[in-house]
Homo-oligomer: 651 residues x 2
């Protein structure tokens, strides 16, 4: 409240000043036009300023809460609440800026495309002066359905595509870059099951249930929603964002495997949900253009879409990550940390752009790029670049996350395309919960059949309750709000996000007690890595793998099968190729490949083994068994021991 | 060349893949529209991607040059050259995307404003299906003069306002934040003289000369340019950007005072140039709307504009900087470094927005905000936030700078609104050089009358040659390209930027030899502070004041009068109020203000004096004389000596 008041006081003060300074008294339309452009620019700035002040306010309140050890509200919850308050003020203070709109018709005889033009040039006569007639250019914005709706100030909102192109990429990249890889890979099988199979199951369950419920509702709703609509809703509501819960897990040192399951699943199901919803939309388009019945061809194309886009995006992300690793390994760009950091950022950003330019999913590519950057490139970076990239993405992630949550709050009131339908909202809540349950419980049962350390029931309950909805669901819902059905979905999604973030987020502490989940695990490794997190950051996802060299792997039976295969491949071939770590390719590749191996092994790799192991992350070493290639270790141990004594001090 | 080739190969590969996956065979216009939107998005991504790849290429080449110790070309020069090459390829490869344009007329009887509408809603009939008629919304973009020009792909360029709202703010903020304040304040008088008086003189000299020359030219030019046009050109060409030269100064340890003069002047003259050009434009508008003769009222308003906008922007920037300092001093937000860094970034960004929202100059506000943040807030920050904010803005600055210089290169070929006029270009070059000379030499003469360490002739020559033009000139020139005169100015400015950056930048080494300017100054202080720069960064402006406590001030005669007054005020009142430094306000304020002083003095300030002096920056202590307030020091010395022995280890 203070925030908006503050904004207004500022505006009044400054308008006074600027009126004093730039008092335009001419009546020419040129000057009016210029004044109009200036006032538009001022409104844009004010709009951004109000969000910035909102974030500052949120930030100060979070600090106050942390300072006073109030923990029932996480920063995202706070951002949403402040957003709602400011949104309500903007909405009911009635200060909407009037937008001048003109209706025009197609009457250009030369124009014969069936598509709307990209630009319109408006020939604008100014009465009296024939010479001063002007032409203005207009660019395509969107299709509109209801002219009236558009009158509400469209300044207070952002183009939904901004989320996919500006806000989500750093969040998702950070999630990948800060993934706690040791425990992630150890639980790889379960995480992939929940994320890929679980999210798909959840989408179809929610979609089917919603469709069923809607059919029982008044005819108005029943006829409006198609199965595809509800399935789309199912996909977007199946992505989870347990920021709040992870932050609390972090503070309380909850069991690391539970942490890995919740975090890993939430990271990957974002990727699955975005690709799935894209495929559903593509199917919908083919379906519309087809005969109207169930289109087998279109269905299989949609399935192909899903796997194709997912795998290709993954491939692009992983490839770009590996290319960056190679660049930083084989050039001495690390001598110039600023150049190195810039290269890192540009390569990561170009991953997103390459994926988008090739009509794949940039967000998915960026996620896997982040994982590869953390797993390989990070080890090659100079100390300066490590700190810089970590800290920069941590900060970007923090700002982007808080921005999107305050926007969710504000847009509840200011976004013109909301459609409140209590029945639909209530059904949405119920189905989302059932869908989450349909993801977790059956799959946990199946996983427990084959898993050595079983996932206990209380972990399953916690996984179920960790299904907060967040940024991705909202971004997907606001992307398309053309029809009334889509608007109802947006409203429901926004409410689900707000309620789950505030209520489920706030109840985490009690739930942990309720489910008797052990906290404060006194794992020495954990304590070490947690400590570095705590001193360096307060973000919920800010995990950095500065593991100590004393940190030894757990007994074999804790490893998943998938993790072991991947781990040994990674240590034998990927890490030696992409980083300076030992064993080198000379030791792992067959003898016939020696010339190639020599080419791909740097002198640092030959000499700096010890320093690297201590400084870098030792994740993959932890991820596979020591005895998996003890022969390799033995082969090189003798050589190392005296090399280390010479070059141990080089970093 | 490789870059564009690479882009094209990628596009071909991915279009193949995506055609395979998303083969749309429906003929409905909905699908076409969607495909159109997708293809637009792909083009946007490709456009950004080509700039990103261009930056990566520049970066790798810079690394190679640095690695091989090639120093005749600075990174900005390289970015320009690569930009030119890629621009030429884009232009002549003829792959312009065709933009569908439609001409529409005002025929809405309800529309009766003399202003063009903000939005157009186009009623678009789709033949045959009356129900499928659609309405599309278009938003105002700009006024256009020549319809044909607009056909050239407008995708390859950016909205000029992007420079003022996205690219310049981090560059300018970084300049302020990394200002080498010790030497800046020591040469404050000379820097302000060159920057404020010099830039104004230079603008009017260039303006008048250009106007005179243009009058002698063929009638076509003579009648087109008004004095205001040429004066605007004078203002925009008077801002300098000696990135290349400063980078070399840094590498060679050139005399610190020369460094401070060149850097300080270039930072401030950007601010002066942008405000001056704004005032000239405002005057022009009033002039047009008035009687046509010399408008005394409008002239004085323009002068008022200039000082009013400059001072108010300065005030907003300084105020926001001080508010941030107070926030970080009186809250314990430093316990949570991520929150602290976010607060720092948000406060700095809101400074820009507040200034823009109040129709002042955001860039100027951000500059002074940066100076205050470095001078006060930086001392209150936690170690983590210091590193994070430093490194982040350094990286942003690097990326923004290289982007703008490659854009200058690319836009020489792709920007549709260039107007080549050899005569005008030649005159522009000559007048810009004369204007620079009219800034430096007369003012140096005047300054030397009153200055203790005079500015020697070889320093003056170097200052003259340090007048490279850069980002600010280009951004101001591209802002308004409606008339042919403005287009000729843009072309001339772009060429001046390109030529000065490449030629003058490349010749710096030889010039230093030629003017016999001493390099490799073995100043212990300098060496220390340089070392920290070198290890931390390679940017030309990346100066950080990590001075050692052994660093003592120079004899009194080296200080400027202005610097001494400011310095003692700063140390007695500003620093104690805004930071944790000693002496506290309890010691400097009169006894009657003791209750207030106690309120504004933190316990850290009372106890942690020693730690702070060592850890923070000791600039202002260096900036004023020790004996200026030796009484204060003596008063507190006894107390300190044993407080320090107790709390010396606290940080």
């Amino acid at each position: 409240m203070l925030n908006s008041f503050y904004t207004k006081v500022l505006v009044v003060i400054f308008i006074y000043f600027t009126c004093f300074l730039c008092n335009t008294d001419g009546a020419d339309s040129d000057i009016q036009l210029d004044a109009k452009a200036q006032s538009n620019h001022r409104l844009d700035s004010l709009n951004l300023l109000s969000y910035t002040l909102l974030l500052i306010l949120t930030l100060l309140t979070i600090w106050f809460f942390k300072h006073r050890r109030v923990s029932f509200l996480h920063e995202t919850g706070l951002a949403v609440i402040y957003g709602l308050i400011v949104g309500a003020i903007i909405r009911y203070s009635g200060s909407s800026s009037h937008v001048l709109n003109m209706q025009v018709f197609v009457n250009d005889p030369q124009y014969n495309s069936t598509l709307p033009p990209d630009t319109l040039s408006l020939y604008f006569p100014t009465n009296g002066h024939p010479k001063s007639n002007k032409t203005f250019q207009y660019v395509f914005r969107e299709e509109i359905v209801d002219l009236r709706e558009n009158e509400i100030d469209f300044k207070a909102t952002f183009d939904p595509e901004i989320f996919f192109n500006i806000i989500l990429p750093p969040i998702i990249f950070h999630a990948g870059y800060s993934l706690k890889r040791k425990y992630f890979f150890r639980n790889l099988g379960a995480i992939l099951t929940y994320a890929i199979i679980g999210t798909t199951v959840s989408s179809f369950v929610v979609g089917a249930l919603m469709y069923g419920c809607v059919q029982l509702m008044p005819a108005r709703l029943a006829s409006a929603f198609t199965f595809l609509d509800t399935l789309y809703f199912g996909a977007l509501i199946s992505s989870t964002d347990p920021l709040t819960i992870l932050a609390i897990f972090n503070d309380l040192n909850v069991d690391v495997n539970l942490y890995a399951l919740v975090f890993g699943e939430s990271v990957l199901n974002d990727a699955v949900a975005i690709v799935l919803s894209g495929s559903i939309q593509n199917y919908g388009k083919r379906y519309q253009s087809g005969s109207g019945g169930f289109e087998t061809k279109a269905f299989f194309k949609a399935v192909g879409d899903f796997f194709g886009i997912f795998m290709l995006s993954l491939l692009i992300g992983a490839t770009m990550g590996c290319v960056t690793a190679l660049m930083t390994k084989f050039t001495r760009v690390r001598d110039f940390p600023l150049l190195e950091s810039a290269l890192f950022v540009l390569m990561s950003y170009s991953t997103f752009l390459i994926a988008e330019a090739s009509e794949l999913t940039g967000v998915v590519a960026v996620l896997f790029c982040g994982i590869c950057q953390a797993h390989y490139t990070y080890n090659n970076l100079s100390e300066d670049s490590r700190i810089r990239t970590k800290q920069m993405f941590e900060l970007l992630n923090f700002l982007a996350e808080n921005f999107i949550f305050s926007y969710i709050g504000v847009s509840m009131f200011t976004f013109p395309k909301h459609h409140f339908d209590l029945l639909f909202i209530f059904t949405g809540f119920t189905c989302a919960a059932i869908g989450r349950a349909a993801n977790i419980y059956p799959l946990s049962f199946l996983l427990n059949l084959g898993r050595k350390p079983k996932i206990p029931a209380n972990f399953q309950h916690m996984l179920f309750f960790a299904g907060l909805r967040g940024a991705m669901s909202f971004a997907l819902a606001i992307r398309n709000t053309l029809s009334e059905q889509r608007q109802a979905m947006l409203t429901t999604t926004s409410l689900i996000v707000i309620i789950t973030v505030i209520i489920q987020g706030g109840a985490t502490m009690n739930l942990l007690n309720w489910f008797q989940i052990p906290v404060g695990i006194d794992d020495e490794t954990e304590a070490l890595s947690r400590q570095s997190v705590h001193s360096g950051s307060t973000t919920s996802r800010g995990e950095w793998n500065e593991l100590s060299p004393t940190d030894r792997p757990k007994p074999q039976n804790e490893k998943a099968f998938l993790a072991r295969i991947w781990g040994s491949f990674d240590t034998c071939y990927m890490k030696p190729l992409l980083t300076h770590s030992r064993p080198t390719l000379l030791e792992t590749l067959p003898v016939c490949c020696n010339p190639l191996a020599r080419l791909l092994t740097t002198t640092e790799q030959m000499t700096q083994e010890c320093a690297n192991r201590q400084g870098g992350d030792s994740d993959s070493e932890l991820c596979i068994e020591e005895n998996d290639f003890s022969n390799v270790e033995n082969r090189s141990n003798n050589a190392n021991s005296h090399i280390n004594s010479i070059s141990g001090h080089q970093v």
